[in-house]
Structure formats: structure tokens, C-alpha cells
């Protein structure tokens, strides 16, 4: 009974992550690859994403300090960051990346800085929510099938 309740709680968290637009379909793709042989596959991939993101965010921070701004370099780094964010289904983060790249395209330095701050916020929120989600999922134990939220 407890196990059912835990799984339901995990499901609720997951549904809200999708409903509120933090995650998209790609996250489900990852979950479908998870199995008994690799029960923490999704968490492992997300951990890799955090590591890679930290590097890219730090890179962006340094590049944004330069004067004048190197928009091509900023765009290149953000392209990578957008790519890896989309690989784990980080929907809101990805949207901010798109906005940032648009500001790069129009050579809008102020827009870039603003968008970067917003992106970091979204990234931090997502990270926190996913940490909670994985913690609960681990406590609940393995479930039989991955399912899609409606």
C-alpha cells in the first residue's frame, strides 16, 4: 500500500513537471530506455547534463564579461547548451536558450544578459525539481512501466 502511495506521489510530481512546461517528450524517451539493468539511467544522464551545463554556463559568464561582446562565440556556446538541454527535455531552459540566441543574432547585448539571467533561474528551478523527483523515485523503488502523462 505504501509503495503504491509512493509511486503515486512520484507520478504527481512528474505530471506537474510536464504540466508546468519544465519537461517535454524527450524526458519520456529517456525513461523508456531505463530498465532493471540500468535502473538509474535517467538520473545518470541528467547528472552528465548538470556537469556539462556547469561548464557551458561558466563559459557564457566569462564571455559575457568581455567588452565588446563576441556574439558569435556566445551563440556557439549557447547552441551547445540548447542542444544538451533538449536532449534531456528541459523545455523552459531550451526556450530561454532560443531567446538568447535571437538576441545574439540581433547583436543585443542587454537582451543577452537579461536572457542569460533568466535562463540560469530556469535551470536552477529545474535542477531542484528534478532532484526532488529523483529522490522520491529512488525511495519509491522500481516501477514496472514508464508511462506518459496525459
Amino acid at each position: 500500500m505504501d509503495k503504491v502511495h509512493s509511486h503515486r506521489q512520484v507520478a504527481v510530481i512528474k505530471h506537474s513537471l510536464f504540466d508546468q512546461g519544465y519537461l517535454d517528450e524527450q524526458f519520456i524517451q529517456l525513461e523508456e530506455l531505463q530498465d532493471d539493468a540500468n535502473p538509474n539511467f535517467v538520473e545518470e544522464i541528467v547528472t552528465l547534463y548538470y556537469r556539462d551545463s556547469s561548464r557551458l554556463i561558466s563559459n557564457l559568464d566569462h564571455t559575457l564579461e568581455r567588452n565588446p561582446l563576441d556574439f558569435n562565440k556566445l551563440d556557439t556556446i549557447m547552441h551547445q547548451f540548447k542542444g544538451s538541454s533538449s536532449s534531456i527535455g528541459a523545455k523552459k531552459v531550451k526556450a530561454e536558450c532560443t531567446l538568447f540566441r535571437e538576441y545574439c543574432r540581433t547583436r543585443n547585448g542587454e537582451g543577452c544578459r537579461r536572457s542569460f539571467q533568466q535562463m540560469k533561474k530556469e535551470y536552477a528551478i529545474l535542477r531542484k525539481k528534478l532532484e526532488t523527483y529523483f529522490q522520491m523515485a529512488r525511495q519509491a523503488g522500481p516501477k514496472e512501466t514508464a508511462f506518459r502523462p496525459k
Binding site: I45, G83, S87
Partner: protein, 183 residues
């Protein structure tokens, strides 16, 4: 999940030993590819640097069956990689978040046999590889300049739109043409 487990069992009983060289700076992409390949008992070599990848491909050309590579790589991008490895007859499938026609056509003209838009989906990855595995059981498909010429013609005929939307269909079409040329 149960479905995947039984498929996994079947594939491991009849290993095709398809060997894939995956090249990308993004560790999440490499991990994703490794996972899908493991389910079908394919071996994966991962590489995060293009220059290093060219060395691997040169040294191991006879033992690598497929290259999967991100177009936008630092120091040596996918286009340069394709150019520098043109004489190596191993199928190269490019992948990228970049969906521009320009990028796709450029990679095809330089020798790529397919282009997958990221984020990657397991189905598309699996289907392309299964098809490859099927072919390699009979004999190894050798990608030659002549074949590639036919391929580029086919792209122009079928149209770019359908190629982007249906990479599997396109890959199958291409392979069906190659059957006549199998060495």
C-alpha cells in the same frame, strides 16, 4: 518495458556485433547512443574530439560499421570530418540540432548517408541500425563514390523535405539501391 526486455534477449542471442563510432561533445548524447546500442548488443566507441575520431576511423576502418557524428564540433566540424574521411567506405550518419537545409545538403554532398535531427529518438536510432545489421549479415555494404553519386541524385529526386521527415524511409530506399551493388 517487458517488450523491450524480450527484444533485448533475442538480439543478444544472435549478436550482430555492429560496431558504431559515436562522435559528439555532448556526453548526454553519447550516453543515450550507448544505451540504445547496448540494448541491441552493438559495440560503441565514443569520442568527443573530431581529430581523434579521424585517427580512430583510419586505424580501425575495417572494424567499424557505422559512424554517428554531430555536425557542429569544435576544431574540426562534421563537414571537415566528412571531407577528410571520404576515402573511408564506412557509412556516416550525421546528427544535429541544426535543422537547416543548408547543413543537411552540405553533409550529404560531402558523403553523409543520413542526417538525424536532435533530440535523438530511440526508434529512429534503432531502426537505422537494425537495417544496417541486416545488411552486414549478408555482406558488408561498401560505400563508394559511385554509390554516393547515385545517392545525391536520389536526394534531389525525392526532395529534401521528405528526407528530413523520413530518415528511415530514405535510409531504406538507399539500401535497397545498394543491394544491386553489394560487394
Amino acid at each position: 518495458m517487458a517488450k523491450i526486455s524480450s527484444e533485448k534477449k533475442i538480439f543478444c542471442e544472435y549478436p550482430s556485433n555492429l560496431r558504431v563510432l559515436a562522435i559528439d561533445t555532448d556526453p548526454t548524447v553519447l550516453e543515450f547512443i550507448k544505451k540504445v546500442c547496448n540494448e541491441y548488443c552493438y559495440e560503441v566507441i565514443t569520442c568527443t574530439e573530431s581529430l581523434h575520431a579521424t585517427v580512430i576511423l583510419q586505424e580501425k576502418r575495417s572494424t567499424i560499421d557505422l559512424v554517428l557524428m554531430e555536425v557542429h564540433m569544435p576544431k574540426m566540424d562534421g563537414y571537415e570530418f566528412l571531407l577528410s574521411t571520404q576515402e573511408i567506405d564506412v557509412p556516416k550518419i550525421m546528427m544535429s540540432f541544426d535543422e537547416s537545409k543548408k547543413s543537411v545538403m552540405k553533409t550529404i554532398k560531402l558523403g553523409a548517408c543520413d542526417y538525424m535531427i536532435k533530440p535523438l529518438h530511440e526508434d529512429r536510432l534503432r531502426n537505422i541500425e537494425v537495417d544496417n545489421a541486416g545488411e552486414s549479415k549478408k555482406s558488408r555494404v561498401v560505400w563508394t563514390t559511385e554509390l554516393h553519386g547515385i545517392f545525391v541524385k536520389a536526394v534531389n529526386q525525392i526532395g529534401l523535405a521528405s528526407m528530413i521527415l523520413q530518415p528511415l524511409a530514405f535510409a531504406l530506399f538507399s539500401f535497397s539501391m545498394f543491394i544491386q551493388y553489394m560487394i
